[in-house]
């Protein structure tokens, strides 16, 4: 991966001036490259990884992983049915997989009932959806390469040769 993308993937808050210092490129060159990535859709969005475990009741939510079996459509394959599914705002992630089912769908709702309703009334009735298997998520440990538990303070000495 390009160095600028690698740096931004780790910390999206860094501006062109700081990335310029880290890479030895000029600020203008970095800004131009970032603008290019934003324009061509390589950089889709800048987001924050939030551990919601400590948040209040009102912000609590339930997540489910749903394995969806679908009938691919002639000429359109899986893309068209995937689009119908991922367009629901409840769907946080949607992947096409090889193996015993086709789409892996991550769904978020306020309660288990919300998700149950979504599966029963929105997802399952869709044409071309053959099967669903819903697994409720119990705990998140790591997301997008980031361990959500706050790590303990450093174990190094403060000074050594």
């Amino acid at each position: 991966m390009d160095e600028i993308l690698e740096i931004l993937a780790d910390d999206a808050r860094l501006g062109a001036d700081e990335i310029a210092k880290l890479t030895g490129k000029s600020k203008a060159a970095v800004a131009k490259e970032i603008a290019g990535y934003e324009k061509d859709g390589t950089i889709v969005k800048y987001k924050t990884v939030i551990n919601r475990e400590g948040l209040t009741e009102a912000d609590s939510f339930v997540m489910a992983v749903i394995e969806v079996g679908v009938m691919p459509q002639k000429d359109l394959g899986f893309d068209s049915i995937a689009e119908r599914i991922y367009s629901f705002p409840e769907v946080k992630s949607c992947y096409l997989l090889s193996g015993t089912y086709d789409l892996l769908v991550l769904v978020e709702g306020q309660t288990m009932q919300t998700i149950a309703d979504f599966v029963a009334s929105k997802l399952s009735p869709l044409p071309h959806v053959r099967s669903t298997a819903t697994h409720f998520l119990l705990k998140k440990y790591k997301e997008d390469g980031v361990v959500l538990k706050k790590t303990k303070s450093r174990k190094r000495l403060n000074i050594a040769y």
């Binding site: 690698e6 403060n158 000074i159 050594a160």
Partner: protein, 388 residues
């Protein structure tokens, strides 16, 4: 009892900056740029192998020279990377870090009064270890003006003046300066070394952290393998300081001598560390490259930032250290370090720790997060502006 402590130990000067170290260690919430080790933890697959080895009951002694599997991995690594062949049975010894290798090498080659050249500034153990082994260290000063590099002329001049110099120590990329040498620079050094028939102890533990050009071991140069004790280990590149795994490679007679001392003093390096070492050398290179890229970014940042705030800093070619001069602050390095610690809670190491004459330098280890580096620079700036 007249004198309990042996004279050669009693005469070793205590580290002049021990009091400063105590001060740092007794202080809380310090941002530390004073540590000579990576801020990364050992990559998980390596730690996992160590855990597995304990579960499987690998808890015994190993061969004195180290597990043959590890010595073979070391031999493969050196052959693959640098094209030098060492026989894992005769020419490789697994040591407890490179520190042990330095001690063994000195004791194996130095007789009472043997002269050994040691560059300055340098890692703290070389001179005391040479003295403990009975040797007579002769210091080779290097200066910021020429990037802290040793020159062939300098070595030649000292050898002509001093006569009968037996050995020389070299460390590159260098702690504390980060200085390293290109293949052609090493070639010029090698010619002088051969001319004066020196044995060289080459501490190359930072070889994985060479940023601007490929590292070349001194032993890889024509005619050098038989006169170089080539020391390396996993501490720095692989972030494995706590595992204490290093190795010494060299001519079989020297290695046999070092192994004799090692077998009576150390017996063998820890088997858990050695098991982790096998995994590191087999599958660790990707993690090393990831860490190296990160250090390179921090290096660019810290060198620019220090020069911008008026502290003269040369661009080092490797390691995770810079060795700027603080002369522009009007303070010596020790005062600078003490005041910065007390007023701004940033720890770094005064240059005198690495050589008596480096009174106006400090060593900054940029093996720290970018956030900590930025905050440290901000605090150094406040300290400089306060003028006290």
């Amino acid at each position: 009892m007249t004198q309990r402590i042996a004279k050669k130990v009693a005469s070793m000067p205590p580290s002049g900056i021990r009091a400063f170290f105590e001060l740092v260690l007794g202080m809380k919430d310090v941002i530390s740029l004073g540590v000579g080790e990576p801020d990364f933890v050992t990559p998980w697959h390596i730690r996992e192998k160590a855990i597995w080895s304990l579960e499987q009951g690998y808890t015994s002694y190993t061969s004195n020279q180290g597990m043959i599997e590890l010595r073979r991995e070391v031999a493969r690594f050196i052959e693959r990377r640098y094209g030098i062949s060492y026989d894992p049975k005769q020419e490789i010894l697994i040591t407890v870090g490179v520190s042990e290798g330095i001690d063994l090498a000195m004791r194996a080659i130095l007789d009472p009064g043997s002269k050994i050249l040691i560059p300055e500034p340098s890692y703290v153990s070389y001179e005391p270890m040479a003295r403990l082994a009975g040797g007579r260290p002769i210091l080779l000063p290097t200066r910021i003006e020429n990037g802290f590099k040793l020159t062939p002329d300098q070595i030649d001049a000292v050898c002509r003046k001093e006569k009968n110099i037996k050995a020389m120590l070299i460390n590159y990329p260098c702690n504390p300066t980060g200085t390293s040498y290109t293949r052609s620079e090493l070639g010029a050094l090698a010619r002088v070394i051969k001319r004066h028939d020196l044995i060289v102890i080459s501490d190359e533990v930072y070889d994985e952290l060479s940023f601007d050009f490929d590292h070349t071991p001194l032993a890889a140069l024509p005619g050098m393998k038989d006169r170089v004790i080539y020391l390396n280990g996993l501490s720095k590149g692989y972030a494995m300081t706590g595992s204490r795994i290093g190795w010494a490679c060299g001519p079989d007679d020297v290695l046999a001598a070092m192994t004799k001392i090692h077998q009576y003093t150390i017996m063998c390096a820890s088997i858990t560390g050695q098991m982790a070492g096998i995994e590191a050398l087999k599958r660790g290179s990707r993690a090393v490259q990831d860490m190296k890229r990160e250090y390179m970014r921090r290096r660019r940042y810290i060198v620019d930032a220090l020069n911008e705030i008026g502290l003269e800093c040369h661009m080092p070619q490797g390691t995770f250290y810079v060795f700027p001069s603080v002369a522009s602050s009007g303070k010596d390095g020790m005062t600078f370090a003490q005041e910065l610690l007390k007023q701004q809670k940033v720890a770094l190491v005064p240059g005198v720790a690495f050589g008596k004459s480096f009174t106006h330098h400090v060593r900054i280890a940029y093996a720290a997060s970018y956030e900590d580096l930025k905050e440290s620079v901000r605090r150094i700036q406040i300290y400089l502006a306060s003028g006290s």
